[in-house]
């Protein structure tokens, strides 16, 4: 599904990604774990096609990142990317017009689940509600790849795990490949199947989550502390 080979990203002299290589099989849930500044968001931006690689190759479903890969990718950036002046439904309809597989009925179902009033303007929503709206937008269509960059950050702690569980169990379209980046490891621990730990723009450790837990005899949170911090 995803093939990343010797990927570098430099910003005015600073290296955000230092030659990482990675493959992700179709239908897997991969956790990209690392501290702030480890390169998680940069990697997601490049996969989503909103940033360019300085060097290296990235393909999604065999195609280099571009218009076609953006069509099959749902991207939840860390920031709030919505237009404040649009209504909630207007925002979703705006997005729907770019993706043939958008399911508006599912959007409404997700809005209910996320407890978002569909009559409101985006600008009047709280930070938490906007974060939930990103989740609604990402799961309203049958994309092949979902990139969730720190999706839990602004959602209230008691709801985080429950929301992710419901999304992955009930709202996932078929064999969607899902990448979740976070530094809140304990909250995704049970959901992710594969894991890649990033440290200073490089891969510190990568593998199957269950195998890593068994081999090291510790949770992913503990491995995170050992490997990354």
């Amino acid at each position: 599904m995803i093939a990343v080979e010797n990927l570098w990203k430099r910003y005015r002299g600073a290296t955000a990604l230092g030659g990482i290589s990675l493959t992700v099989e179709k239908g897997r849930v991969l956790g990209i774990l690392g501290e702030n500044g480890s390169g998680k968001s940069t990697l997601f931006k490049i996969l989503a096609g909103v940033a360019h690689a300085s060097e290296g190759q990235v393909t999604i479903s065999g195609q280099p990142v571009g218009v076609e890969t953006r069509r099959i990718t749902s991207y939840l950036p860390e920031t709030n990317p919505f237009y404040d002046w649009m209504g909630v439904i207007e925002q979703l309809e705006f997005l729907a017009s770019f993706y043939p597989g958008w399911d508006m009925a599912k959007s409404r179902q997700l809005l209910d689940l996320m407890n978002i009033d569909s009559d409101r303007k985006v600008g009047t929503l709280s930070d938490g509600q906007r974060a939930r709206l990103k989740v609604v937008a990402a799961f309203s269509r049958s994309s092949q790849l979902v990139l969730m960059d720190e999706p839990l950050g602004r959602i209230d702690p008691p709801s985080r795990k429950r929301i992710l569980q419901i999304l992955l169990n009930e709202f996932r379209f078929g064999e969607q490949t899902i990448l979740i980046s976070t530094h809140l490891v304990s909250e995704v621990e049970e959901l992710i199947e594969d894991v890649t730990f990033l440290r200073s723009g490089e891969i510190a450790l990568s593998g199957n989550a269950e195998e890593l837990r068994q081999n090291r005899g510790m949770s992913l949170s503990d491995i995170f502390e050992e490997v990354v911090e």
Binding site: V50, P77, P81, Y83, F94
Partner: protein, 259 residues
């Protein structure tokens, strides 16, 4: 709905307050100009000159484009725009189209108002009080279109080029933008005379638009009482320079825009 249309409508809706404000201001200025004429008038009130003011929009409107890109960055909505399955050029073109739409509406409203002001001036001239005028409506529309389209093309090209340039030049971007604007204007004016010296393959337009007064109470003169010949190569040159500068901006945006 096709994706380009969706992007275009989003731009129009996003800027609708500004659109309405500018159109309403233009309408108000035209009203002030028109209301300056009355039945017993001997000398036209200088208020009719307000009618020309909205043409100055060609100096401001193109920079609505830069403002629009800046707003996307400020609101972080560029993350959403750039992740859409469309080319960067389409995003850019939708923003340009929104500015062109507004400037076209402003131009039509303004020239329609000015046409009525010209009719008022002609009515005054018909009373034989020392004012002489030749103000055919068709000539007004043709001349105004040629000059407005030319000015808008060059200015929009400059604004587009600056948007692209700012993606490449991070330090001293203001200086680079100013240098780019000066360069485009210098190139435009330094080549204009040569272009106009070429055979007028696109044809010329002969207009007769002038106002003169022999009344000592009325100091008013616009144009000369002889035909103005405008070469269509002037418009073509402006469009070529404007589109080339816009092409640079679009190309840089396609290659370098990122979140």
């Amino acid at each position: 709905m096709n994706t380009w249309k969706t992007l275009y409508l989003k731009e129009v809706k996003e800027n609708r307050t500004l659109f309405i404000f500018l159109l309403a201001s233009t309408a108000c200025l035209q009203m002030v100009a028109l209301l300056s004429f009355d039945e017993g008038q001997v000398v036209p009130s200088p208020h009719f000159l307000w009618s020309f003011l909205p043409y100055g929009s060609f100096l401001i409107l193109p920079f609505l484009l830069s403002h629009s890109f800046a707003q996307e960055l400020k609101g972080q909505t560029h993350y959403l725009l750039l992740s859409l399955p469309v080319s960067r050029t389409q995003i850019f073109a939708a923003k340009v189209a929104a500015v062109v739409t507004l400037s076209t509406l402003l131009f039509i409203l303004n020239t329609a108002g000015l046409s009525m002001v010209f009719i008022g001036l002609q009515n005054l001239a018909a009373r034989g009080l020392g004012l002489q005028a030749s103000l055919p409506t068709v000539d007004l529309w043709v001349l105004a279109s040629m000059f407005y389209v030319s000015a808008m093309a060059v200015m929009l090209g400059i604004a587009s080029g600056i948007v692209g340039l700012k993606l490449v030049v991070r330090r001293f971007s203001g200086l680079a933008a100013t240098a780019f604007a000066i360069f485009v204007l210098y190139f435009y004016f330094s080549t204009l005379a040569d272009v106009l010296a070429l055979p007028a393959v696109l044809g010329t337009y002969e207009a007769s638009v002038w106002i003169d007064s022999t009344n000592p109470d009325m100091v008013l003169r616009m144009g000369e009482p002889k035909p103005i010949v405008v070469n269509f190569m002037f418009v073509a040159h402006s469009l070529v320079v404007g589109l080339a500068a816009m092409g640079i901006g679009m190309w840089l945006f396609e290659k370098r825009a990122e979140a």
